[in-house]
Amino acid sequence: MEAWRVLKEEIEAQIALTSNQPDQDILDVFKYSISKLGAGIPHDDQIFSTWFYGAPDVTYAADWIYFLIELARSGESYSMPALHKMAKYWFVHPSHFGEYCGLFQQYSFTKRIDRMLDTLDRDSFIELLTVFRSYIMNINAWIYQYWPWGVSYAVPRKDRAYYEKGLELLSQ
């Protein structure tokens, strides 16, 4: 079987797993605040900035791959070498940071896609990236599940009346 089909099957297996439960990386980083490669630790030993910057590389990777597939499907306006290079710029290079934040599974898939990019024709490029996008969307769903939304119950949106009352209190 071709290398990309072997990888596709492994990604499918992770899609099946993460459709029902969070995977190890999600639990490690977003539920149990484990920093596996040291992200955030030099900055007062906190995990919040790792969440804040590591998670969007998942959320937006799904968008970048959506765009790359749209470009690959838009006829010949982009050659395969051009699409391979754009894939590197748009989602491979930014993904290094995701590994550092602890999303090892996603990055191991990304590295394997990167290594075989030059061998992919248009159809296999679309098919492999399509499956990878679904995997990333599953991971993103779990990130949104564990994100600390509740902290901003203490910091709600404010309006004019709020600040007018504040001014009044300040001027007493």
């Binding site: 906190q46 051009a82 290079k85 902290v151």
Partner: protein, 186 residues
């Protein structure tokens, strides 16, 4: 007709010069004073506008415009391809930037898209305008990052090996979670 895009570029460049000096109102509003005039922020929670606002601001500039400018230089793509990339990629992040009330950057971006679609055909002019927008976007990204309430993070400590070992050793002492969460969560 004075070319609108040059007037837009001047406006963006002027806003950029101000952003070198001080924090734009958009970032003060959302990240300092918790004001979102669009009413965004479900349930009045600011975490959505903070996180998705800062993130969409960063990706609008640092991944979409930055990479378009980069591939234009590296792969010599045509004016038509630049237009295609702009129309395909920018609107997605722009919608969130706008909804999170980062209004100047949203307006500049929307007007840049309009100019590239309706007024500019020359490739270098497109890149010149995108360059100006990319500079302003970098400034907006820097200010979002600087103004974000990082102090919150000081209460979310990393769990180190000793923490986890201790927690594991005390697991039997923990009060059980509500029954309906007993299912397969590992």
């Amino acid at each position: 007709m004075a070319e609108n895009w040059k007037m837009l570029q001047q406006e963006i460049d002027a806003a950029s010069e101000r952003a070198v000096e001080e924090c734009p109102d958009d970032m003060l509003r959302v990240f300092e004073y918790d004001i979102v005039r669009t009413g965004a922020g479900t349930g009045r929670l600011m975490m959505g506008p903070w996180w998705e606002g800062a993130t969409s601001t960063r990706y609008l500039g640092s991944y979409y415009i930055f990479n378009i400018v980069k591939v234009a230089q590296d792969m010599n793509i045509s004016a038509e391809q630049i237009r295609q990339l702009v129309n395909l990629m920018l609107p997605t992040a722009l919608g969130t930037v706008e909804l999170c009330d980062i209004s100047d950057y949203a307006r500049f971006t929307r007007q840049t898209i309009d100019c590239i679609n309706e007024e500019i055909d020359d490739r270098e002019d497109m890149l010149s305008l995108l360059n100006s927008l990319w500079f302003y976007g970098s400034a907006a990204n820097a200010w979002c990052q600087y103004r974000m309430k990082w102090g919150i993070g000081l209460s979310f400590k990393v769990n180190h090996r000793d923490d986890l070992i201790y927690m594991g050793s005390r697991a039997n002492e923990a009060f059980e979670r509500w029954d309906h969460e007993k299912k397969e969560e590992n």
